[in-house]
């Protein structure tokens, strides 16, 4: 599913000069794996996910995800890749405020090359999959933290991606809710979805089939 070789990412960081965050990182992930990447804050975990998900383009190295060679791809092709092949889940959910959960889940379809005709049915199915069948009409403000993250996961699942990229998905949740979300990830993984989650929490690490550590810009 993922084949990343020698990924280097250097940020131009103003007064601090150049900051090397990824320094030849290499990663292979097989289809159906649930990989947890751990590392201290600032070690480059988010940066790694952005590279794998086609959100970042400023790196050097070879990155192939789901058979798509990402480095050097155009904005249009990368956008299409993000739209169809990967789903992102963020620590702070990043739902669009003021619009319904259903509309949030449908967001990827608004930018799809050929949006499906049965948008709403698909969005409802995604909400059902994350255990929120009756919350479609609520806006993010009317949802709890755990529910928000479930809606965000439903949005990530909407386009039936092959890979889920999760950036500290339980970081903003209380312990019990975090356990529920981890259980959901395990369930999704069991149904065949490949998951890469970056975290510094034990419960995700425990759920993963493989744990990697990011340190000094490399994975081990």
């Amino acid at each position: 599913m993922i084949d990343a070789k020698g990924v280097c990412r250097v940020f131009d960081d103003g007064e601090r000069g150049r900051l090397t965050v990824l320094d030849g990182a290499t990663l292979q992930v097989a289809d159906g794996e649930f990989v947890a990447v751990v590392g201290r804050s600032g070690s480059g975990k988010s940066t790694l996910l952005h590279v794998l998900g086609g959100l970042d383009t400023g790196y050097r190295g070879e990155v192939t995800v789901a058979g798509v060679r990402l480095d050097g791809l155009s904005d249009a092709a990368l956008s299409r890749f993000r739209n169809e092949t990967v789903g992102f889940v963020f620590q702070s959910f990043h739902l669009v405020s003021g619009v319904s959960a259903l509309e949030n889940v449908m967001l990827p379809a608004r930018f799809a090359a050929s949006p499906p005709a049965d948008l709403e049915a698909r969005a409802r199915a995604a909400l059902e999959r994350v255990g929120l069948p009756s919350h479609a009409a609520r806006s993010p403000g009317q949802l709890s933290g755990g529910e928000r993250q479930r809606v965000a996961i439903a949005r990530a699942l909407f386009a039936s991606p092959r890979l889920l990229l999760c950036d500290e998905p339980t970081g903003n949740l209380d312990a019990a809710t975090a356990d529920d979300i981890v259980a959901l990830f395990k369930q999704l993984n069991a149904s065949g979805l490949t998951i890469v989650a970056v975290t510094h929490e034990d419960r995700l690490r425990a759920a993963a089939s493989r744990v990697l550590t990011l340190s000094g810009g490399r994975l081990s």
Binding site: T47, D75, F88, H94, V96, L107
Partner: protein, 425 residues
């Protein structure tokens, strides 16, 4: 633009209704004032052009030189000069005019459309060629009927307008139309004057005139009669009956006028462009005031565009994370640019439409008020406004353009959102 972005446009506009409303309002004000003033300017311009100074731009009025060139005869408007004018390139026809060179008065004593009228007036009479006024003659032939028969005469359309709108109402005289006047017979005594001493040798030549219509081409303060009648009267009074007072030169095309004017001057003749100048001055005054008001309106639209730029910049900044998420779920940079621009275009369309409709409504209301509240006056038009389709389309277009202009840089900024930066953490 992918059709599926419109739901997002609608959502984000409905989420921030206040800002959307204020942006739309600003545009509507600018568009409304532009459409209103241009429409008014066009309307008033039309009144000036068609009613107050109806100048035919293909005509040149040639008169003898205002200064004498001595005995050489330069600047004399006789048959030779007319033949030379006729031969000028660009000239399609010439129409000769000759004043009745004797003074004339009309003394009316009798029934005037149902009212007793008693008055004496000094009148000017000018003879013109029948073809010059043919289209306005409603009765009989416009030729010399011979002595002792009523002379066919045309009155000025403008004179009739002034009579109807200010003279008649003040004296409670009836309103008249060209049709009603046609056939009206009145006495006219040539070689007689109330103001200048008539030479003792001359004896008055009594005649009757009969109105056969009204014409834009008729003399404003006088009567217009067949050329041959003017000639005959001059001959009878032992006055000059060969020199023309003026010659109206019809050019094939208004663009030929400057060349013809030059040739006329080279012949030692002058061009009477008083009417044309008045029309041009009045037209220019209207055009200048219209353009300055239009400019002001465009300025309002520019301000509205700045207002939109400001509001959209703030919105794009506030929606940074949202835009980042859109990138994460598959939006291209171009899609975000179009999304923000589409929001502005929708506001522009609504603002443009509302502004245009408000301007139209204001114009109609003013027309209705003017019709019912203002007293009749000369050249009072039925409508003070012209509403050509291009103006209405232009109003809507200006709204859209101003909105798009205002949103351009914010849209670029939205497109440049770096999702990796705004979504991390």
């Amino acid at each position: 633009m992918s059709a599926s972005v419109w739901p997002l446009v609608r959502l984000s506009l409905s989420r921030d209704r206040r800002s959307a409303l204020s942006s739309t309002f600003g545009l509507a004000v600018g568009v409304a004032s532009l459409v209103f003033f241009v429409s008014l300017g066009l309307g008033v311009g039309r009144v000036v052009r068609e009613k107050v100074f109806p100048v035919d731009s293909s005509l040149v009025e040639v008169v003898p030189a205002s200064f004498s060139l001595g005995l050489l005869g330069g600047g004399k408007l006789d048959d030779t000069a007319v033949a030379r004018l006729e031969a000028l390139p660009g000239v399609s026809r010439v129409f000769k005019k000759m004043n009745v060179r004797a003074p004339a008065v009309t003394i009316y004593r009798g029934d005037f459309f149902g009212r007793p009228l008693h008055m004496g007036l000094e009148v000017l009479a000018v003879g013109v060629e029948p073809d010059f006024v043919k289209r306005d003659v409603l009765m009989g032939e416009f030729v010399d009927p011979g002595p002792d028969k009523p002379i066919p005469a045309l009155a000025s359309t403008r004179l009739l307008e002034i009579y109807n709108k200010s003279f008649a109402p003040q004296r409670s005289l009836p309103q008249l139309s060209g049709q009603m006047l046609t056939g009206f017979v009145f006495p006219i005594d040539f070689n007689r004057s109330f103001v200048t001493a008539t030479p003792p040798s001359a004896s008055s030549i009594p005649a009757q005139a009969q109105l056969v219509g009204v014409s834009d081409r008729a003399l404003l303060a006088g009567v217009t009669i067949p050329l041959d009648v003017a000639r005959r009267l001059n001959r009878t009074a032992n006055l000059d009956d060969v020199t023309f007072t003026a010659v109206t030169v019809q050019t094939a095309d208004p663009s030929a006028v400057p060349l013809v004017v030059e040739a006329v001057k080279a012949m030692g003749l002058s061009v009477d462009d008083q009417e044309r100048r008045m029309a041009e001055n009045a037209g220019a005054a209207v055009a200048i005031s219209t353009s300055s008001l239009a400019l002001l309106s465009v300025l309002i639209c520019v301000l509205a565009a700045f207002n939109i730029a400001h509001a959209f910049s703030a919105a794009v900044r506030a929606r940074e994370k949202e835009l980042g998420v859109m990138r994460a779920v598959g939006a291209t940079r171009a899609a975000l640019f179009r999304l923000v621009l589409a929001e502005a275009l929708l506001l522009g369309l609504v603002g443009g439409l509302v502004g245009t409709l408000v301007a139209l409504a204001a114009g109609l209301a003013l027309d209705a008020t003017a019709t019912s509240l203002l007293p009749p006056f000369p050249f009072k038009p039925e409508s003070w406004f012209l509403r050509p389709p291009w103006l209405l389309a232009g109003g809507v277009g200006l709204g859209v353009l101003a909105a798009a202009g205002g949103a351009f840089f914010p849209a670029r900024r939205a497109a440049a959102t770096d999702p990796a930066r705004v979504l991390a953490g």
